[in-house]
């Protein structure tokens, strides 16, 4: 009966390419999502992407390990597999120039990076949609009982006084005043369902704008 050969004589060595792959994967996530990167890792597709990026250099190392006779572990080879596979995954080769209809010249380059880009879009697009859905659910739940935009800005203006840092307080007051002025302008001559819709749109927009300024945790204090 055929036996499965051991993946490594020293399991610790597999951690080297795995960690290097994870670092490269997280860097890609950070490039796409910035400050929201850690939230991406709370989504299933984000995790799958991150872990799979960690596993790619492990597989490369494993191929190198199994090709030896007899197989022998090496931390140096493990590190080289980690760094090397990251370099290959980011590579694109210049193929030539192409003239656009507007006359501009564009470089044509193809490589493994195009495959990585496709894989990123496949996995991380779902994560982006999920994060946007979470922000929407948070704001809509927080402001579900609000129907009157002017009443909300009145309360929020008083609540802004709770902010200890003068600069933050001023930003919140500026936002409140700015949106209130725009609402009053847009609401002129409106009534009935159209005014209700305008109220709802400005209430939710106010929620998203304030969340950008103070973050999710402080938002209930601003709108209570």
């Amino acid at each position: 009966m055929a036996t499965i050969p051991p993946l490594a004589s020293d399991w610790l060595v597999l951690g080297v390419p795995f960690i290097l792959g994870l670092a490269g994967g997280f860097q890609s996530i950070y490039t796409k999502f910035g400050a929201d990167s850690s939230r991406v890792l709370t989504t299933f597709s984000g995790w799958i992407y991150w872990l799979s990026r960690g596993l790619v250099p492990v597989v490369v190392y494993e191929i190198w390990y199994q090709l030896q006779d007899p197989p022998q572990d090496s931390f140096v080879a493990a590190a080289l597999c980690g760094l090397g596979s990251e370099a290959i995954l980011r590579s694109r080769f210049y193929l030539g120039d192409r003239q656009q209809p507007d006359g501009k010249i564009e470089e044509v380059a193809k490589g493994v990076f195009d495959l990585v880009h496709w894989y990123q879009a496949l996995c991380l697009k779902g994560a982006g949609d999920k994060l946007a859905g979470e922000r929407q659910a948070f704001i809509e739940t927080l402001l579900a009982g609000e129907a009157d935009f002017i009443a909300l800005t009145g309360r929020s203006r008083s609540n802004a006084g709770a902010w200890a840092i003068e600069e933050d307080k001023q930003k919140l007051l500026n936002l409140t005043n700015d949106l209130e002025a725009k609402f009053n302008q847009a609401a002129q001559g409106l009534g009935g369902p159209k005014l209700d819709k305008l109220n709802r749109a400005f209430i939710l927009e106010f929620g998203y704008a304030a969340m950008r300024l103070v973050g999710r945790r402080s938002l209930p204090t601003f709108f209570r």
């Binding site: 879009a121 991380l124 697009k125 982006g128 949609d129 939710l204 927009e205």
Partner: protein
């Protein structure tokens, strides 16, 4: 970055790059971020969706939709 297939007006371009930056956004979050709202925002998002630059989660209810960048421009 992948070139845009058409020339976009300045506000539409601003909305596109905002969505590209965030990857996906609720419709009214775009208003909160760009300051473009109402009919102008609706028309811009409809144009972007028609050109397949973004996808709209609920095409019949833009107001309540999540707008995400298409895979090609992710």
């Amino acid at each position: 970055m992948e070139r845009l297939p058409i020339e976009l007006d300045e506000p539409v371009k601003r909305i596109f790059f905002t969505i590209q930056d965030h990857k996906a956004m609720p419709f009214l979050e775009i208003a909160a971020t760009t300051g473009i709202r109402g009919d102008e925002l609706e028309e811009a998002v409809t144009t972007l969706a028609k050109e397949k630059l973004v996808t709209v989660s609920k095409p019949n209810d833009l107001f309540d939709s999540i707008i995400s960048i298409s895979g090609k421009y992710f």
